[in-house]
Every structure is written in structure tokens, then in C-alpha cells.
Amino acid sequence: MNLLKIKALRVYFPTDDGIVKAVDGVDLNIKREEILGLIGETGCGKTVLGMSIMRLIQSTTLTDGEIIYKDRDLLSLSDDEMRKIRGGEIAMVLQNPMTSLNPVIRVGEQIAETIRLHQGLDKKAARKRVIEMLRDVRIPDPEKSVDSYPHQLSGGMQERVMIAMALASDPELIIADEPTKGLDVTVKREIIRLMKEVTAKRSMLFITHDLGAAAEICDNIAVMYAGELLEHASVDSIFSEPLHPYSEGLLNSLPERGLKPIRGISPSLIDTPQGCRFHPRCDYAMEICREKHPEMVKLEDGRAVRCFLYA
């Protein structure tokens, strides 16, 4: 059963240089207790997609489409209704904990804020709950850490605080934006293990460019390129048999798989190529790819791919 349904979502930013089409016609469903990985490279629009689910994008943006969460379209809710969902039923783990935590407020208070707001606990009860939360995310000595300031914690610990903060209101859906970015290999491994554990009974949209991390934690994967989705499949099938040439190229660029690069560079979101957006970099490009924009094709085994090779 679907918890979140995104239909034909478009998010455009008007700028001096032209309109940035950060998200350009995305359809995506997240099922209950599903962990969906959203994979893409810098500037493909994946962060904007995550932010627009939470409606955290500035007011100058042009947004179109539907984001249906439990039969309610988030885009048509009033600001007050949205605020109740934000941080309550849907929580977010933002990238870069160093700057995402307020440097002059104790971490305990930053978590307690959410608890008081969404669960209506008083100060004392909230503090008790915060200490439990910190213990859950395995921060050593929670009674003491609750009163630390962010700069007194290491990067890994800050990331745990971010996770505790997202879990504080017991959300049904977590949107995690690059939670493993900038972490050391060993720390990253622990954070992934922790995230897997705490999302056991929840849904999560896991936004990342780190294919390894996605492979470890996700059930399904959606691949994003130049503002649109190119492929959507289960984690096993996409890693063993990627269908879209871009997915294939991305996997082959990994050092483990021989560092075979994709030629060229990602297009700017202001003027994307005609036809298939990937065709200038594609080894299998055909005449039709230059002329027509491919639609998402649903295959028999439940996979979907946007490529004329499978049309």
C-alpha cells in the first residue's frame, strides 16, 4: 500500500539565467515500510525533490503536480496543516549535521523542541524522552550528552543527533538527504547500520549519490538524471542487471567495477538536451533518442525504465 504518491511533480526556479527545471515531471510512490533510494549525481534535482515533499522550498518557486500523503495532497494543504505534518508524520534528516544543528542551542533542547511540539509533552517529560532517544541512537553517556553543544560532538555523533531529532516525533516517513556525506568509512558503516535499525517499521526516502550506501540499506532504487527519473527497480535487480544505460554507466564508474566512466558531463537544468536527456552521453543512442523524449516504460517484473531500448 502506498504511503506517499508523487504525481507529475514539477519544481521550477526562475533565475537571471533562465528557468532551472530542478524537478521536471516525476512520478514516484513510496510504500509503507519501504526504504526507497533516490540516486543521482550533483545537480540532478534529488535534493529539491526531497525538500519539495516537505514544502521547504522558497515561495518564488513554481511547483506543479500532486504529492499525496495518505489521501491528502500536501501541496494544497494550508501552511498550518502542513506544519503539523512536517517534523511530525514526515521527518527529515538534512545533509551536513555540522551546519544543520543550531550551534548555540544544546542538542538536547534541539531534540526536545520537536517532542514538545508534536507530542505535547512538558519540559521534564520531554527531557526524559530525549535521553531515551539519545540512548536509542547509541550516543554514549546520554545524560551528559543531552547538555552538550553541537561543536562538542564529533561528526558521527552529530549525525546521530540528527537522526534522533528525526525520530523524536515517531514519524511514519523519513526523508534522509545524503546522511552519509563526508563521513569516514568506518563511521559511515555504523550510521548505515543504525539507520537500517531505526527505520525497520517506517518508510524512508534515502537520497544519496553513494551507490554503496544505497545498496546496503534500500529495498528499491529510483535513479534520477537531469530532473527526471530514468529507472525504478528493486535494489537487487538494479545492481545485478541495470537496464538504463545511465544506471549501467553509473555502476561501471565505481572503482570496484573497473572505473569505466560515462563520457561528457551532466547537462545544466536550464537547458536540457532535446529528446532523451541522456542521449549525448549514451553509447546506445539511436536516431529516435535525439528526436523524441522517451516515456517511462513499465516492464513485466514491476520495473520501470525511461529508454527506447525497452519501448
Binding site: F13, T15, V20, A22, G43, V48, Q58, L269
Partner: protein, 283 residues
């Protein structure tokens, strides 16, 4: 950096900045062409305390000088002091900022001097110096420069300190480039926008300080600035209760206000363009 490159273009779109620049140019042109614009020699004396009429647009002052001509010539003095001071102070500040940011040990000593200057109260010190020094335009300029360079040094230095750690500076060093080459070719062009902002801010400060000093009677009486005119107007016994303030006090005061405002507008616009924090790019 991206912003800095586009800055010229963006500045034109900034209405506040263009307004300021426009006003400023009018004043500068007035100052340059004062002898052609002023109907009389400012020292020529007529009947004192005459109200405005067709001969004297703004009347005459207590010793019979034409106020309109006085006002036009005063713009020369005020702007000359302001711009000369800013040019010298910004120049010294930029050079010392560059070197003290690049050479740590030299910078340490310069910064202690700067700290001291900035900790001492500027205006009282300027007043007491002006009292003890013989009054002349050049002495005023020396005093203002003395207290003007340290702030520029500090600002430029902190910018150089961040620039110096950029990898491209390291890569220049690896290529065998000398210190002076790096400073001149790679660091100076990147701090230049900041230097311009500092220049504008300093000019604004000097206009205000010079007006204040002259108002207190510490200016050069042989070359009257707007502040000096206000000083004599203020000293006139019935300035507040008769109508003379309208043509004697108001015009020089408003000139000061408008020039400062123009400088503030230009500085503000420049800062807004150059401060990356204020113009964050989306996505």
C-alpha cells in the same frame, strides 16, 4: 566570486546604487566647475543678512557673502577632503592589509597597532589633535588618514587571510611564483571590490567627521566647507528664532545629508552585490 564577476552588470540593476551614483556625480561636477557655476566670488561682500532675492538666490550671511556661491565653493572643500583622505587611507590600508595578511609575523605587529587605533575613541582624539595642530586642510587630511587606515587594514587583512589558504594560491607557489607576483596578480584583483567598498565607506565617514569638526569650529576658516558654514550659522544669535535658518542653515546641512546618503546608497549596493551571504544562489 561568481557574483563579483557579474558585479558590474548587477550594479546597474540595483536601483539604490544607481541613484546614489547619480547624486554623487552631480555634486562632483558642481565641485569641479564651481567657478563657472557660482555667480559671485564667495569672499566678495555685499549687504549682510540680506534675505533671498533675484540677486542672491540664498541671501547673504552675517558678513555679507553670497550664500549660494559659498555653498557651491564649499562643495569643493568638503568633497576634496573626503576623497583625498579616502584615497590615501584606503591605499595605505590596502597595502598594509595585503602584506600583513600574507606575511604572518609582519601582520602580527601591524595588527597590534591597528588594535590600538581601533580601541581608542576616534572622534575625541580627532578633536584634541585638531585643537593642538595648526588648522589647515592638509592637517585635517593627515588627522583623518591617521584614523582611517586601520579599519581598512583589518578588513583587507582578514580577506587576504582567507584567500591565502585557497588551493590556487598554493598551486601558484608550487609553480615557483614569487610572493610579490602572487600578491599582485592573484590576491589583489580578488580583493579589489572590497577596496572599493572601503573607499566609499571611508569617504562617508570623513564627510561626517569633517562637518562635525568644522561645526565645532576646528575647521580651516580660510576655506569654508559646509560644516564651517553651519558653524557660523549656529553662532549667529537669532538663527533659531528668525527665518534666516531657511537659507543659511538648511542648504549646507542638506548638502551634507544628501552626499552622505548618496555614499551610503552606493556602499550599500556594492556590499549587497559582493557579500555572498546576502546573495545566496538557489539549488
Amino acid at each position: 566570486m561568481r557574483g563579483a564577476l557579474k558585479s558590474g552588470n548587477v550594479f546597474c540593476k540595483n536601483r539604490i546604487g544607481v541613484t546614489g551614483l547619480g547624486i554623487l556625480s552631480v555634486f562632483i561636477l558642481t565641485a569641479i566647475f564651481a567657478p563657472f557655476l557660482a555667480p559671485y566670488d564667495p569672499c566678495e561682500m555685499f549687504e549682510p543678512m540680506a534675505p533671498p532675492d533675484s540677486q542672491h538666490v540664498l541671501g547673504t550671511n552675517d558678513i555679507g557673502q553670497d550664500i549660494w556661491s559659498e555653498l557651491i565653493y564649499a562643495s569643493r572643500i568638503s568633497l576634496f577632503i573626503a576623497f583625498t583622505t579616502s584615497i590615501i587611507a584606503t591605499f595605505i590600508g590596502t597595502l598594509s592589509g595585503l602584506f600583513s595578511g600574507y606575511y604572518e609575523r609582519f601582520g602580527f605587529f601591524v595588527m597590534r597597532v591597528v588594535d590600538l587605533f581601533l580601541a581608542l575613541p576616534r572622534l575625541p582624539l580627532i578633536i584634541i589633535l585638531a585643537v593642538f595642530m595648526p588648522t589647515s586642510i592638509w592637517n585635517l587630511i593627515i588627522i583623518f588618514v591617521l584614523f582611517g587606515w586601520p579599519i581598512t587594514t583589518r578588513i583587507i587583512r582578514s580577506e587576504v587571510l582567507t584567500l591565502r589558504t585557497r588551493p590556487y594560491i598554493d598551486s601558484e607557489r608550487m609553480m615557483g611564483a614569487g610572493d610579490l607576483y602572487i600578491l599582485g596578480r592573484h590576491i589583489l584583483p580578488n580583493i579589489f571590490p572590497l577596496v572599493v567598498v572601503q573607499f566609499v565607506m571611508e569617504a562617508r565617514h570623513v564627510i561626517l567627521a569633517e562637518a562635525g569638526l568644522s561645526f565645532l569650529g576646528l575647521g580651516d576658516p580660510t576655506s569654508k566647507s559646509w560644516g564651517m558654514m553651519l558653524h557660523y550659522a549656529f553662532e549667529y544669535p537669532t538663527i533659531f528664532i528668525s527665518e534666516v535658518w531657511k537659507w543659511w542653515m538648511l542648504p549646507p546641512g542638506l548638502c551634507i545629508v544628501v552626499v552622505i546618503l548618496a555614499l551610503v546608497f552606493v556602499g550599500f549596493a556594492l556590499e549587497e552585490i559582493l557579500n555572498p551571504r546576502l546573495r545566496r544562489e538557489i539549488v
